[in-house]
């Protein structure tokens, strides 16, 4: 376990890893879902898999905002570039996500005014600087990001900026977890809860998972030691027959969340009755729209949006991978037609997407090993 030395506090990591082994029942198979894409990235990057016993399986969850957005919404957003004088703004993560007629980056190459912003506040500032243009911000993200869009909307209204709109694709994590638990082909023992979503929503919204579904959930930080500690906490609960919400990431996540952030969201957003998720279909009350008072800032109301449903490329199995039914490498396109350089599905685009994470660390590592094997057979 040479790589352990590269981490800080290696002795604590070794101790946590041995505690994981001590608590693991060798006769049992454990299936833990890490909900957050940041955790998925960390698991591959840190080689956490190698520290865990074989019978602990980590299932990658739906917590990658770019990955869960269905292609139809990308097409809808890009259709707005046909509006004369419109500036299309989005986070960098969105730029290479393929729509039916290309990605935002490809639209830019064809002459659309597509710009990367790092904050919704920057999109609003762009609108202020360009009063004769309309600036549309393609908003994505879970509860981590939605409050920033909310404050931007409140500011736009307060400052009377009229050439600005939001194409709202914010989604909420709890209904997605519920959909996964309701899915008949998904058997899970416990959850590693998202870290930064929980700084906003707190730990209380997870209580039903413990109480009604009888599954332990531990909100976790992102360091290797955090994630190992979280797995220890889950194993302890299972061993003692408990199902509770526990907070391993107390140094950042308050139990009650960020009330100011939640207030800003309830001032500006309402729940959509349903929303389509890539690979998971329609999930009721799983996404946010702008409240009616903000209709003038709602790109969907301001512009006519085709609202078409687009099925994913037939051979791509993004949905199965998103639900954790298939591992990335089990998809027929993985590593052949679909690579981070030429992504077919969104899970290959974002660094938090399980396909990109798997490709960048495991697949490349395996390819490298097979290349160097003949030269160094003894090692």
């Amino acid at each position: 376990m040479k790589f352990v030395d590269e981490f800080r506090r290696p002795e604590l990591i070794a101790k946590a890893a041995s505690e994981v082994r001590r608590l693991t029942d060798p006769g049992r198979h454990y299936r833990f879902m890490e909900v957050c894409g940041g955790h998925t990235h960390a698991i591959y990057r840190f080689g956490l898999r190698d520290l865990l016993p074989e019978n602990i399986e980590l299932i990658h969850g739906p917590g990658c905002p770019v990955c869960v957005l269905p292609m139809g919404r990308i097409d809808d957003g890009l259709s707005m570039t046909e509006q004369p004088g419109l500036i299309f703004t989005a986070f960098g993560d969105m730029m290479r996500v393929p729509g039916t007629k290309g990605s935002p980056l490809e639209f830019k190459a064809r002459g659309a005014d597509v710009r990367i912003v790092y904050s919704p506040a920057d999109a609003l500032k762009l609108a202020e600087k360009n009063p004769d243009r309309h600036v549309m911000f393609f908003a994505i993200g879970f509860e981590t990001t939605a409050p920033s869009t909310a404050l931007t909307l409140l500011r736009a209204r307060a400052e009377g900026i009229r050439n600005f709109s939001i194409f709202c694709n914010h989604v909420t994590i709890i209904p997605a977890i519920r959909a996964i638990l309701d899915s008949p082909d998904m058997r899970l023992d416990a959850f590693i809860g998202p870290g930064h979503v929980s700084t906003v929503i707190g730990c209380r919204p997870y209580e039903w998972i413990a109480r009604h579904e009888n599954k332990p959930i531990v909100v976790s930080g992102f360091e290797p030691l955090d994630m190992l500690e979280s797995i220890v906490m889950l194993l302890r609960q299972l061993k003692e027959g408990r199902a509770e919400v526990e907070n391993q990431y107390k140094r950042v996540v308050p139990w009650e969340g960020n009330k100011a952030a939640l207030r800003s969201m309830s001032q500006t957003f309402a729940l959509r009755p349903y929303f389509e998720w890539r690979g998971m279909g329609f999930i009721s009350q799983s996404a946010l729209r702008l409240r009616d008072e903000f209709a003038e800032f709602d790109a969907e109301q301001r512009f006519s949006v085709p609202g078409v449903r687009v099925t994913d490329p037939k051979a791509a199995q993004c949905g199965e991978v998103l639900k954790g039914v298939l591992k990335p490498a089990q998809c027929k396109l993985f590593g052949n037609e679909c690579t981070p350089e030429q992504p077919v599905g969104a899970l290959m685009v974002s660094s938090e997407g399980s396909c990109a994470a798997y490709y960048n660390y495991e697949h490349r590592k395996a390819a490298l090993t097979s290349l160097t094997m003949p030269a160094a057979p003894a090692s």
Partner: protein, 95 residues
């Protein structure tokens, strides 16, 4: 995009509500601190920043930890690119 970037509040700026100058590894940019309105940010506070907004206060030690996590994940360059890309200005130069 769920990884947050640690920074230190240099000063609360008077030019508009909830605007602060933050220092991230020597790079200074303006960010919005409106999400901390229940426990307002002050100069010297360490915060986690996400898409141009401070989302929570943290300790100095946790800020150092978080920077290390970003580096371990190979996301430190992207994080600095994000900070440098924030469009609300750099402060001190009239921007």
């Amino acid at each position: 995009m769920c990884l947050a970037i640690p920074g230190r509040i240099v000063e609360i700026l008077p030019e508009r509500e909830n605007l602060a100058l933050v220092d991230v590894s020597g790079v200074r940019r303006k960010i919005d601190v409106g999400l901390l309105s229940d426990d307002p940010a002050q100069a010297g506070d360490w915060v986690l920043i996400h898409v141009g907004f401070a989302m929570s206060k943290i300790s100095e030690a946790d800020a150092a930890d978080q920077m290390r996590v970003l580096a371990m994940l190979g996301e430190d360059e992207a994080a600095m690119q994000e900070i440098e890309g924030y469009g609300l200005g750099q402060g001190g130069d009239g921007s």
